[in-house]
């Protein structure tokens, strides 16, 4: 005859029901720190000529520095993965442009120069001009900004901080982003 256990169970009751959180907005905070960062740097100059201005030439560089490391090119023959140099040629935009507060607006053709270190294929900025692209851009001295007619949509987006001195407009912009650099060993 099997013994009968008459003592109380010490096994806690287990709820096997489906758990339904009643507050989906509750969050556990900390502060994630990215393992790698990239600084996107863009700078350049417009040089205007004519009276009134009827031509623009200039140069523009886009570089991306990962984890703050600038390769010593001369010593190691390594380069940044994204280090693009453009030349620019512009003509005045015709007709009303809609560029907010712009004193002058240009149709500018970007050409990647033969001595550019890289092309744009490894750049993280998705909005770099491709070789031969023509962008409509305008300079608004009031807010020290160069605006970009975003891919011809008619929407002018503040693109570069800029200052005009005489016939020269000097511009620059930078942004730091986190970036994922897969461990090469993970691919093996």
């Amino acid at each position: 005859m099997l013994p009968t256990d008459t003592s109380e169970t010490d096994i806690p009751w287990v709820d096997t029901g489906v758990f339904r959180p009643d507050q989906t907005g509750s969050v556990a905070l900390g502060n994630d720190v990215p393992a790698h960062t990239v600084i996107l740097e863009q700078s350049g100059t417009w040089m205007l000529s004519g009276n009134p201005w009827d031509a623009l030439v200039g140069g523009f560089t886009a570089r991306e520095v990962v984890d703050g490391i600038e390769p010593m090119t001369a010593d190691t023959a390594t380069t940044l993965a994204c280090d693009v140099t453009y030349s620019m040629q512009g003509t005045p935009a015709q007709g009303p442009t809609g560029c907010p507060g712009c004193g002058h607006v240009w149709d500018i053709q970007f050409t990647i120069t033969p001595d550019s270190v890289t092309d744009t294929s490894n750049c993280n900025d998705p909005d770099l001009p491709e070789d031969g692209d023509t962008w409509r851009m305008g300079y608004a001295g009031g807010d020290a900004t160069i605006y970009f007619n975003f891919y011809g949509t008619g929407i002018y987006v503040p693109w570069w901080g800029a200052v005009q001195t005489g016939n020269n407009v000097i511009f620059e912009w930078s942004r730091e982003l986190a970036i994922d650099i897969p461990d090469p060993e993970d691919d093996q």
């Binding site: 993280n124 998705p126 891919y151 970036i179």
Partner: protein, 341 residues
């Protein structure tokens, strides 16, 4: 003796199974709808589902940029490491991702992640006979919350994508907007006081609408409201519907009545399905096509409650083509790194 052995070897018959009493099935109760303006309820549902599209999470994402501070949240070029956010897109996917579990000094917090990407293209010349064409699309995958000391500002979990196509030329205008949202959204930014969905929704709704020289609306999927009730009774919509406006309608098209069906669910999980003209022969179940009473282009559908035919109802969806369907401005699709503070 042999007989005795035979008898003893005969397998014993199993005792007969006791006959179970036939369960008494209560006849399904058909809810009383005499006090409900069902036509108004279906119109309200149609108005609400027009607001359930990808614009909602994208607009809230855009406004949440104002709360971004350096390092909180972290913003990745492309997608972050998988352990940070498991986003099911190609490794080489572009776009940007915010991800973190952080709080800023102003009390604003971010938890989770949100990836987004988009593209805008313009071709042609508005002064040419071909006109100007704009094509834009964007996509979001997220499981994140943006909040502050007053609670959740914006939460989205799931995927949202939409696209816009416009052609404008002298004397010609056409636009197409389509949206697919498969996700859940809450928060006081997308759903402020007075919103048709006061506490948000869960949905898998697909919308496809056209305007300009051709008016039409296609909607397919489900919408569930967390709070708030259509006509103070219904919490969900399920539908597969195609509405054709006067502009661009073919000679055989019915502009008085949608094709397809729309269903509402009450809080007791009873569905009220209003069946209009069949969209195709696949829509016909049980009744061979053509079925004259169901196929009449009269603006009326047949209501089924728990599958029981419960009368004809004629909701007026004409508001759809009096300006309610609007293409989103292309500016909503303009997105770049410059948006970030």
């Amino acid at each position: 003796m042999i007989l005795a052995l035979l008898v003893s070897c005969t397998p014993q018959e199993a005792p007969p199974e006791p006959i179970k009493p036939t369960p008494v099935v209560d006849e399904l109760e058909i809810p009383d709808i005499s006090g409900i303006d069902m036509e108004a309820a279906f119109v309200e549902a149609m108005q609400l589902l027009l607001t359930v599209n990808a614009r909602t999470p994208f607009q809230s994402l855009d406004r949440s940029f104002d709360r971004f501070q350096p390092g909180c949240p972290d913003v990745y070029a492309g997608i972050p490491p998988e352990e940070q956010a498991d986003i099911d897109v190609d490794m080489d996917a572009g776009g940007l991702t915010w991800t973190d579990h952080c709080e800023n000094p102003d009390g604003g917090y971010f938890s989770g992640y949100g990836w987004w990407d988009g593209d805008v293209g313009v071709t042609g010349d508005p002064n040419s006979s071909e006109g100007i064409t704009i094509e834009a699309d964007r996509e979001m995958i997220a499981d994140g919350v943006v909040g502050d000391t007053n609670g959740v500002i914006f939460e989205f979990k799931g995927e949202a994508s939409d696209s816009l196509y416009t052609v404008q030329a002298d004397g010609y205008d056409r636009w197409i907007y389509s949206s697919l949202v498969d996700g859940t959204s809450t928060g006081r930014d997308p759903f402020p006081a007075g919103a048709l969905a006061p506490a948000g929704w869960r949905t898998d709704l697909y919308l496809y609408m056209t305007g300009g020289d051709e008016d039409s609306l296609e909607a397919r999927g489900n919408v569930y409201l967390f709070t708030g009730r259509m006509s103070e009774r219904f919490d969900s919509i399920a539908l597969d519907i195609n509405v054709i406006g006067q502009l661009g309608a073919g000679p055989d098209d019915c502009t008085q009545e949608p094709l397809g069906w729309i269903g509402l669910r009450d809080e007791n999980a009873v569905w009220y399905d209003l069946i209009f003209l069949p969209r195709s022969e696949d829509d016909i179940t049980g009744v061979p096509y053509p079925n004259d009473p169901l196929s009449e282009c009269d603006g009326c559908g047949t209501l089924y409650i728990r599958g029981v035919e419960s009368g004809e109802f004629c909701p007026d969806f004409s508001f759809l083509f009096d300006g309610s369907l609007q293409a989103p401005p292309v500016a909503e699709f303009v997105s770049s790194l410059r948006d970030l503070p």
